[in-house]
């Protein structure tokens, strides 16, 4: 692999941590940023222009709920005008038809609607909010409008029995793409892990289901799926490699190599208020820390797969092995793989979930103002 620095291809703009949903697997950090600390409109406009000038192709607007910001049409317009492909990842909760039209007029390219299940009951349990019926309304509005639509179903132990219903929702919509994303275990999901991890039988059945769906819907809907790292043989190439393809900007303007990087002790993050994206990407300590291969330990250091998976996920290495420079413990070649196996083995001993009582979820709250 070449150690040459190339520009990032996508900018993940975490516009706010405010959200009407309280999902038990939210990818936001446990420490949420308040509205008072959010970057203002002008600061984001500067970021989008710098990103486009730097060769970034796509901007992913996410949150929290990005629509919680009232300046969202201005942000979409600015990013699009700068030359970026604009993708909005939303729960759909704050949407109505005029707001949707304003976003499309502003130049939104792609809308990704997240789902917590195929039915109101499970969606409400997972998100701590009544939200499912509104999502179905949004799908109806989208049918008569020209924009790319992706449905994203986050799946786990508690909703894997609804895959066929989820796919039916996608097929009756205008979506050209559907993602089935098994939960990964960081942040809020790590805290709720035992209630979310699927059994090996559930996982195998889901993969067989996705393969059949891909075959049947080829050319109509792109069906994509992500398996839980804990069940993988080799780790995923997290973020396409540290500081290789993606850059994430937090609501307050910190530039991170990935969603969870702030949990890694000792890393110093630069803020877009102080430095340009190019400067941060090329010379900041945080982006250089795990870029390339010099930081790797054995077995990664001499492994043939190191240019494929870049050693896996640094945050997972910290969470499970206690060392962010260790081989991702989900790798079957990792010396710490037994810790993952122990977690999975303990899961099988857990009695069947009692359906009469609601599990003891840790819900993600709204940030303080």
């Amino acid at each position: 692999m070449s150690n040459e620095i190339t520009n990032p291809l996508a900018l993940i703009a975490e516009l706010t941590h405010r959200c009407p949903l309280h999902c038990v697997y939210c990818s936001n950090p446990l420490e949420l940023q308040s509205r008072a600390n959010e970057l203002d409109t002008q600061a984001w406009l500067r970021v989008f222009q710098q990103a486009a000038d730097f060769g970034v192709l796509q901007a992913d607007f996410t949150g929290g709920e990005p629509l919680a910001r009232t300046d969202i049409p201005d942000l979409v317009r600015a990013a699009r005008t700068a030359g970026l492909y604009v993708n909005l990842i939303t729960s759909g909760l704050p949407l109505d038809e005029p707001k949707l039209d304003a976003l499309l007029v502003a130049g939104l390219d792609h809308l990704q609607l997240s789902f917590q299940g195929a039915r109101e009951e499970i969606a409400a349990e997972i998100s701590g909010t009544k939200s499912h019926a509104q999502k179905l309304r949004v799908l109806e509005w989208l049918k008569s409008r020209r924009v790319a639509v992706t449905l994203n179903f986050v799946i786990h132990q508690r909703n894997l029995d609804q895959l066929a219903e989820m796919l039916a929702i996608a097929e009756s919509s205008s979506a050209t793409r559907v993602e089935f994303a098994h939960v990964q275990y960081y942040g809020w999901a790590f805290a709720n892990r035992e209630l979310l991890l699927p059994t090996p039988e559930q996982l195998a059945a889901s993969i067989a289901f996705f393969k059949r769906a891909q075959e049947r819907l080829s050319g109509k809907i792109r069906v994509e799926y992500v398996v839980p790292d804990y069940y993988a043989k080799y780790p995923k190439p997290c973020m396409g490699g540290w500081g290789r393809k993606l850059m994430l900007i937090t609501p307050s303007g910190e530039a991170l190599p990935c969603h969870a990087a702030k949990i890694i002790p000792g890393l110093k993050f630069e803020n877009v208020k102080d430095r340009s994206l190019r400067e941060i990407w090329e010379i900041s300590e945080a982006f250089q820390k795990f870029r390339g291969e010099a930081w790797m330990q054995e077995p990664c250091k001499t492994c043939d797969r190191r240019a494929l998976d870049f050693g896996g996920c640094r945050c997972q290495a910290l969470l499970l092995a206690g060392d962010p420079a260790a081989t991702d413990p989900v790798c079957t070649l990792a010396p710490t793989r037994e810790r993952v196996d122990a977690i999975l083995a303990a899961l099988h001993k857990t009695p069947e979930p009692k359906t009469l009582t609601t599990p003891a979820w840790l819900y993600r709250p709204n940030p303080a103002t």
């Binding site: 060769g55 192709l57 390219d109 792609h110 990704q112 924009v147 050209t176 050319g219």
Partner: protein, 91 residues
């Protein structure tokens, strides 16, 4: 799955041409494809006005040194690939 020669391909919603570092790219949800030479000539003609057959004929003229049958096969393969990515609709 082979496209019908009489159908008219056009870019699907959320798919459009863009430019990056003086290079043409096809932007689409969660992906971008670099376009150069023949691939760019094909995608430029996916405008809902050209039929698949017209695209083949025009590219056979542009690439007149290449074997016409090979040009046709390559174009059909590329259109099928774009269809699988959901970058094209056929009218």
């Amino acid at each position: 799955m082979q496209p019908d020669p009489n159908s008219h391909p056009h870019l699907a919603p959320g798919c459009r041409l863009g430019e990056n570092n003086q290079q043409c790219v096809l932007l689409m949800p969660e992906r971008a494809l670099r376009l150069n030479g023949p691939s760019l000539e094909i995608v430029r003609r996916c405008d809902g006005k050209h039929s698949v057959q017209q695209i083949i004929t025009e590219l056979q003229q542009i690439y007149s040194k290449a074997e016409p049958k090979k040009v046709e096969t390559d174009i059909l393969g590329y259109l099928a690939l774009l269809q699988k990515q959901r970058a094209l609709d056929f009218a």
